[in-house]
Symmetry: C2
Subunit: 380 residues, 2 copies
């Protein structure tokens, strides 16, 4: 194998596939990054037990020659060293060549590295994803779906299924749901031009996989192909294949957790509510379980308080833009509310309460594509 | 005590004095920040066993009213909460008032905090620094002196004296020296308008103190007053007093460590040498003690290599701008060289070697105010 490649393109794609490579890989070969040179370009592949990423660097991109391939071939190099080396090389191009003992020579200007490579035949194959349930969506929408749900997955391994995000498709709408059993985030999106016969549920993608996917995608309107099978999801973007294992098990039925009636509904400015709860949390974050108390003052204001006896007390007032129903007094985990408020892009939020000990709902006031559900906290 | 203060000025000065406040203070009162309101302004004080910082916020700065003092007084508040609270308040001004039980009310817009204060009489007094050895220097020069020496102090507590930077004054020149016994950094500076009779040595200021001082000073040409006594150094800038304890013990005599003769002298581009050693370190940083090998190739080039048998080998070439003397082959800790090269601002460096097992010297090629000394590493 021998090729010369533009260094910046090489670095960017190495960083993409490195997201799938664990420094604590169970098999030594999986701490490596596989490079294959074809006549028409170079593929880079990284893989761990959950995620596999393949990036393709075409020989030519329009008029721009990215790679000059002299001899096709393949090699696996230790990812940890390789990414840093290419990043720090002195020139704009890099020459990579491999000898019969898998020793890989990397030359750029007056710098020469000779790295011990691994046998590329030992590298595991990418998962086989036969054409299953497929649909398309735009990259920026996919990134929004991930951002607005992934924060709510469980980080505890006690119920592994809750570390994933549930995807279900029904009547041309994709429903994405994440919950750690104390709070739930749900976002839906119409899938344009979709085959409306396509229906699936219990597709549970690890939250970590989707977060990594989101990091390597740019915020564009380019289309991504998504295919889900029984145990894999494949995201196919321009020059990138991203495979994720699905989680085994049955995701809890979440639809009937959502209360349909409401005793109190308030509408408030999302940024002001966020800032008030952030300040209230300053006194409750340490060992106090982030408990924040909220009560209505007439129909015009909410009072938000938090007390830590040793330190002091904070009292915040937030004006209501609308208030309907009974007076209100409830306590909750303020950190959960903040994380939801940070992914709501609307100016106002509407919050529906059904009593001090019942879960409550928060939504953007002007959109119904998103819903956040929170358990209250008992404080007496 | 009651005053109203501009929030941004308050935040900036709280951050300054917080640098002296440890979250693991031995005495509870030292985890606090002391606030004193006078008729003409407010002082903030933070202290640990090594450093004390006092910042003064004048009531008026030119035409700009910074503080409106209603009632003078004083209080100590837990620094950890206080800094975050003031930073996150909603309005541009903050009202602070204290009642007889030391409860401190902080109001900004619709936000109100009531914090339990501590008795200000329990807060330790600032060190007394009688007029001792005093001189002046410009802030940007002081920051340069610190940056160019502090990186070389020892981080091991086996020889505490080496965690400090030695300051000595002789013939109107200030000499700053730091060493961890494997490398040494020395920087000197002429002190303008100084009392040339002023001489001192064995003033050893903790490296950490000087690094913290550097962080709160802006890169200006304003003058700083420095006073050193037997056990304290005081740095007096506009509206800031910074006290540091000095280290006890005798600093090693470093002048006679510096070789006066040289067998090989090379001059190279500092940035190119830095980049080449950084790349060589990529393969030697893990458990290989950062060992890098250097040898001369004729009189025109240096070859820099590093080998880690499991991973591979790197070979770098750097052109010599000048070469004089014997051929050269030496090994050293590349990380130490890199840290010195990062604080040398000149284009070229001159390196003087006196043999494979003798310490070698690096200096800026165009200035003689700075010197770096390194022990070689035995590799056989």
């Amino acid at each position: 194998m021998k090729f010369t490649i533009q260094r910046d393109v090489f670095v960017q794609n190495i960083q993409h596939v490195s997201k799938a490579i664990s420094s604590r890989a169970t098999m030594p070969i999986l701490s490596g990054l596989k490079i294959v040179a074809f006549d028409d370009g170079v593929t880079l592949t990284g893989s761990d037990s959950d995620i596999s990423i393949e990036a393709f660097i075409p020989a030519e991109d329009g008029d721009n020659q990215l790679v000059d391939i002299e001899t096709p071939g393949s090699i696996v190099l230790q990812a940890k060293y390789f990414a840093d080396i290419i990043k720090k090389l002195p020139e704009a191009t890099v020459e990579v060549s491999v000898n019969e003992q898998n020793v890989t020579k990397i030359i750029s200007g007056s710098s020469e590295f000779n790295l011990n490579g691994l046998d590329p035949d030992e590298f595991p194959r990418l998962p086989e994803v036969e054409e299953g349930n497929s649909f398309q969506l735009k990259t920026d929408l996919l990134k929004a779906l991930i951002k607005q749900t992934a924060f709510a997955v469980s980080t505890a391994e006690t119920r592994p299924i809750l570390t994933g995000i549930h995807w279900g498709m029904e009547n041309g709408t994709l429903y994405c749901t994440a919950t750690d059993s104390h709070r739930l985030a749900m976002r839906e999106a119409a899938i344009e031009n979709s085959n409306t016969d396509l229906e699936f549920s219990n597709v549970v993608i690890p939250g970590k996989s989707l977060s990594e996917l989101s990091k390597i995608l740019d915020d564009t309107e380019e289309t991504i192909d998504v295919t889900v099978t029984d145990n894999q999801a494949l995201f196919k973007a321009k020059n990138i294949l991203f495979f994720s294992r699905l989680l085994d098990g049955n995701y809890p039925a979440t639809k009937n957790m959502i209360p349909s009636n409401s005793k109190t509904t308030v509408q408030v400015d999302a940024r002001k509510l966020l800032a008030a709860i952030e300040r209230a949390l300053l006194l409750s974050r340490d060992g106090k379980n982030n408990v924040v108390n909220l009560k209505s003052i007439g129909e015009s204001k909410l009072e938000i308080t938090s007390v830590t006896p040793e330190v002091g007390k904070v009292t915040e007032e937030v004006n209501c833009d609308a208030f309907e129903g009974e007076e209100l007094r409830i306590s909750f985990n303020g950190k959960n509310i903040i994380e939801a408020l940070r992914v709501i892009e609307s100016t106002d939020v509407s919050v529906q309460f059904t009593g001090a000990m019942s879960p409550f709902i928060m939504r953007p006031a002007d959109r119904d594509y998103m819903l956040h559900l929170f358990s209250p906290v008992r404080t007496y």
